[in-house]
Amino acid sequence: MSIASAPADRWSIVRGLFEAVSALGSTQRSGFLDFACPDVAIRTEVESLLEGHEASSDWDMPCDRRVEDATEQLPEISGFSIERLLGTGGAGSVYSAQSAASGRRVAIKVLRTAAANSQAVQRFRQECRALARLSHPGIVQLIETGVARGGVTYLVMEFVEGQSIDAWLQANEPSVERCIEVIRDVLAALAHAHDAGVIHRDIKPHNVMVTPEGRVKLVDFGVARLSSDEGRRTGFRTETGHLVGTFAYMSPEQADGRSERIGVASDVYQAALLLFEMLAGRLPYEADGRSAAGLLRAVLMDERMRLDAIRPEMDAGLSDLLDRALSIDPARRPQSVRQFDAELSAFCAVAR
């Protein structure tokens, strides 16, 4: 009997036998191997693979909880007729829908079943919990949450008419005062969230909507965090210590993973960054070739430009304020969104 000696040839025999035998019931296996595999060494290898096969469920466990397919059918949620897909994020998809009872237009965020790993579920719940605490004209309103047929978790929210702030900016070319006013609306909404113990952590153009009436709405609390005191009190810990949020808008403490430093001052930073970008037309960081790595380094090294260095016509006091609000050290920033708002009001001609 000649048994192939090259490892690859030998393996193909072992593998072939393993595949054939693993398809059989355990009682037939040894008879089959007696017949098909007279070589003891190969038989031992096949049997050890079989043993592994019997026990190998562990390796499958994580992967099968995630699939990246975005090609999903419209979900069915009783009481609502789903109209169309508005967008897809990491954890779920958002659909526009109409309530059968009231005829009201709503947005429904559905946790993709395929993405329903524990992290996505946790985030989804986090968003539900955060939104459930909040009721403010500047924050998208949660209407209800539920589980549909087939175990699909969803949350129903107010449908926000309008455009994201970057689209709004391009369409309207607002004055400096108007930009400040808009950010002060953002700060008012954040003040309400902070009072309720919710830190947004992901203020960026995409998550700030402007309605046709010119009012601001914060959307997407998917990475919001309940402030640590609240978290401790309710025994609810948010997922922290890792990089969440959109890269370009991460505060330094988010970018370096120092989760214990993330707090209301992180939202101050992001609101300031948004205002900076609105006024300067660009971010304050000098990122080589606009690479993500370059940007991360610039944020972590605090390589920032002042507003009046990019736009000399800007008020030096406003530049100072933004420079402080964007400080790498959270302790140097205005210590609350209300304080930031009060300091900003000096540069806003319109009385509030």
Binding site: D58, V67, E68, L243, F247
Partner: protein, 188 residues
Amino acid sequence: MSEFVPPASVSLSQLFESIYGRLKDLSTLCMRAQPSGHTLQPTAVVHEAFLKLADRDPAEFQGQEHFMATAATVLRSVLVDHARRRHTKKRGNAKWKGSTDEFEPTDPTVEVGGLLALEDALKALAEIDQRSARVAELRIFGGLSMEHVARLLDVSLSTADRDWRVAKAWLEKEYEVNVRLLAREEAA
């Protein structure tokens, strides 16, 4: 307003989430090593894997699937580098001082011993059955579904399934042996 352009069509937050999710799964997989308390610091690993990916030329990637495949390889090499360093350090010093206290307990941590055992098992498999080893890498370090794996490797779904079944059986048998070998090496 300037729009930040991430590599390929993959959003950066998606990438972070993905790398982080992989670490969580690996944390479960590699737990079966004797818990030595020597674990990898997740933030450092995520940063390094991210920087390596971000520095690559977007033209390299033909869509998300391809990107995830590259991410799998990068994550594996970064993790193994860290683990090897940690492993050597541990053998050199009587007591290695970790910096795990900087992180919250919810962070996934990956057992060094378990990870190295997995790496050795994968390398050995690649020597005799490269495709099966690649399927395992894409599954374990990339989190790709079988459909994605089959498309990437340009094989039928049933072929990919068979490869994965063999790879799992192999890993299962090798892993346990390797964990013991590593523990012995450490004790020596």
